[in-house]
């Protein structure tokens, strides 16, 4: 039996801050469903044709299965680094480090993409007021957005969670309303869905599935705020189980709306700022503005969601010693991992800006970053699915259902990845190479730290474990405890 400590290895983060709605908000805002609702079906429909709805239903079920696996951990341990610590507990430190760096890549790249997205949509909004949109405007806006998000996150998780939840709800409502108004008319008109894409659908179906999977990523991030949640054993698993289903419903709705008439993605300096179909009529400008506001909000919430998850993962690594210990320190007043946040945020803002200045195309930057991010998430999901039966077996609680779901989900995901890789028209090997390079760098750092920090491999995978004060041993009933 492991000794019971007097204080938690992740003390410093404040307990009991987030309600269920806010934990759910963490997961949902990291997914940024409203931005996906108006952009992704447009990307998936050409690839999947008539199978689009089916693709979203299948991936929702697959992600719900991943959620089930993650839930097995979330009902048993209060994590601060989500899938990272879960994988360590199932497959040991080696695989755990792979999952950890995958998550860091996934969250960081998602936050970077969101920062580009938010800056571009803000620029598009401002251009309506006559502000010239260009690389300079986008740079300034990205810096401002990053600074605002950083301030909110340092000021406390409750504040940032409340704001990102509100913003995301607003964004989803706007996206839904816009879709109904813009595309509802064409359905009522009884126009036949365009089936020109059907001819190529089968060849690209694997890619469509993988694309659809990437539209769910982030739902597991509730696992990174468990320490800060109220009743974490209830709220976190619930958020992780329901987010894929709720988000899946939104996507199916969005895909159904758009399958009659696809949104055209504008190609130019502004990425994926959408042009609504002519059927939207005279109100189309107002609708466009509302949608741009909603999507800006969604990107902003996604910066907060992804960076919150990223900072908690880095914080855990700091506490373990995988990265220097200073990263694991918390702010005394606000109880947030301010060093991790202060380190991460400049990188999140500056890297995509450099990328943008080099390539000159926001669209390319956004797609490139999302591709790298997707690699990280899918890698971590694969590992956590495999870790589930291993973990349950190790603690002697393995039953048939988690074994079957864990293994089957992992096999299915590998199959989809291979299928997608084989049928891919535009290769994403650059993203794969970047992900592999970053992962290798992560392992190199781990190997280096292993020599410097004695006992590091045993410390990897910290979570909010039971401490002396939580036990009912040597209990004195006649005493008031604080």
């Amino acid at each position: 039996m492991r000794p019971i400590r007097s204080s938690s290895p992740v003390s410093g983060l404040r307990r009991g801050q987030l309600s269920f709605a806010q934990v759910l908000g963490q997961s949902v805002s990291a997914v940024a469903p409203s931005a996906v609702m108006v952009t992704l079906p447009a990307l998936v429909i050409p690839a999947a044709g008539g199978w689009t709805l089916g693709v979203f239903v299948v991936t929702a079920l697959l992600m719900a299965a991943v959620g089930y696996c993650v839930g097995q951990f979330a009902t048993r341990m209060v994590a601060v680094s989500g899938l990272y610590s879960y994988t360590v507990k199932g497959l040991g430190p080696g695989a755990g480090i792979a999952a950890g760096w995958s998550l860091v890549v996934g969250y960081a790249a998602a936050a970077m993409a969101s920062s580009v997205g938010a800056a571009n949509y803000l620029a598009a909004l401002l251009s309506r007021l006559g502000v010239p949109s260009g690389a300079v405007t986008i740079t300034v806006l990205a810096l401002v957005v990053g600074a605002v998000a950083l301030t909110l996150m340092i000021r406390g998780i409750r504040l940032s969670a409340r704001i990102s939840l509100t913003v995301e709800v607003f964004a989803i409502v706007v996206a839904a309303v816009v879709l109904v108004i813009a595309f509802g008319g064409s359905i009522a008109g009884g126009r036949a869905p365009p089936d020109a894409a059907d001819a190529q659908s089968h060849s690209a179906l694997g890619f469509a599935l993988l694309l659809a999977i990437t539209s769910f990523v982030g739902f597991e991030s509730a696992g990174t705020v468990a320490r800060e949640a109220r009743k974490p054993f209830v709220t976190v698993p619930r958020a992780i189980r329901w987010t894929p289903i709720a988000v899946g419903l939104l996507y199916v709705f969005a895909a159904a709306m758009q399958s009659t008439q696809t949104i055209r993605a504008g190609i130019g300096s502004v990425p994926i700022v959408l042009t609504l179909p002519a059927s939207a009529g005279a109100g189309s400008t107002a609708l466009s503005i509302a949608m741009e506001l909603g999507i800006t909000a969604s990107w902003f919430a996604c910066i907060i969601g992804s960076t919150t998850a990223l900072s908690r993962t880095l914080f855990a690594m700091g506490r373990e010693g995988v990265v220097p210990g200073v990263v694991g320190s918390t702010n005394r007043r606000f109880h947030t991992p301010h060093v991790a946040l202060l380190l991460a945020m400049p990188v999140i803002v500056v890297v995509p800006l450099v990328y943008l200045w080099v390539t000159g195309s926001s669209r390319e930057v956004l797609i490139g970053l999302l591709a790298v991010s997707a690699h990280g998430y899918v890698g971590a999901y694969l590992l956590v699915c495999l870790a589930t039966p291993a973990f349950l077996r190790r603690i002697g609680e393995l039953t048939r259902l988690p074994l079957v779901i864990g293994v089957a989900t992992a096999v299915l995901m590998v199959a989809i990845i291979i299928w997608a890789a084989l049928t891919l028209e535009s290769p994403v090997w650059i993203a794969t190479a970047v992900y592999a390079g970053l992962l290798a760098a992560g392992f190199a750092l781990y190997a280096f730290r292993l020599r410097r920090v004695p006992g590091l491999s045993e410390r990897v995978g910290v979570f909010d474990e039971t401490t002396e004060g939580d036990l009912l041993a040597d209990y004195n009933p006649w005493m008031v405890r604080r």
Binding site: M1, R2, P3, I4, R5, G16, T75, R76, M77, K89, K231, F233, V234, R394, I395, G396, E397, T399, L401, E465, T466, D470, L471, L472, A473, Y475, P477, W478, M479, V480, R481, R482
Partner: protein, 238 residues
């Protein structure tokens, strides 16, 4: 969702009984018992036992140990244990109380604290306290003794309705080292209470004095004498 989670009908009583048996087994087997052992000891289907254990952990009745495979009783169980214990006061402490009672014409009472409640340990039979123990525990924020308990707590959820006024009163209790109440529990009664602390500093009991509400100034004058007496009681109660 598994079928057992959604069925709210005939299988519920069975589930409650099973949960209580699991809880009892964790208590009997001692710190570090594993889920598998519990399922075996109770001859219960393992999936059922694991699900019940996770529910009990989620509600804080039991905790998972750092190795994630062992279990132990958790703090929520403290409430049950607290309700079952009876306060006993040693002769030496009773003598101290008798001495104080001879010196004043007020009711002098000794209350013990559990983690979340007040328990009557030795009440003045000549001048009884304004309300009984159950009423007192429902009105911790209105009573002097209750305010001592609340002032000790960081989190008041479930103990008292939190208001700005109450927080200010509790801050004053912490600053002054005693609590008062005039006409708040019962219109015609006033109380003053001082804490009795264990040598390590933990709050274990309250020494209180009760009188008529028009005597509140006289009661307040008794605080130094009560504090002195609380110091004498401390080693006898801890």
């Amino acid at each position: 969702m598994s079928p057992a989670d959604s069925s709210l009908s005939g299988r519920q009583p069975k589930a409650v009984q099973s949960a209580l048996r699991v809880l009892e087994e964790v208590a009997r087997a001692g710190v570090g018992v594993t889920a598998k052992e519990i399922a075996e000891n109770l001859s219960m289907p393992s999936a059922t036992a694991y699900r019940l254990l996770n529910l009990l952990v989620a509600d804080g009745y039991i905790v998972r140990l750092p190795d994630l495979s062992g279990f132990s009783l958790g703090h929520r169980m403290g409430v049950l244990i607290d309700a079952a214990v009876a306060p006993t006061v040693c002769t030496a402490a009773r003598e101290v109380l008798a001495e104080v009672r001879l010196s004043v014409r007020f009711g002098v009472h000794l209350f013990y604290f559990t983690n979340t409640a007040v328990r009557a340990a030795d009440l003045d039979s000549e001048f009884p306290p304004p309300v009984d123990e159950a009423t007192l525990n429902r009105n911790l924020h209105r009573s002097a003794v209750g305010r001592l308990l609340l002032a000790e707590k960081q989190d008041l959820t479930g103990l008292a309705p939190v208001s700005e006024g109450l927080l200010q009163q509790l801050e004053a209790v912490r600053r002054n080292g005693f609590a008062t109440q005039t006409g708040e529990l019962r219109e015609d009664c006033a109380c003053v209470a001082v804490p009795v602390r264990a040598p390590a500093g933990g709050l274990v009991a309250a020494l209180s004095m009760s009188g008529r509400s028009d005597q509140d100034v006289l009661l307040a004058k008794q605080v130094p004498a009560l504090t002195e007496c609380a110091k004498r009681l401390s080693p006898l109660l801890a």
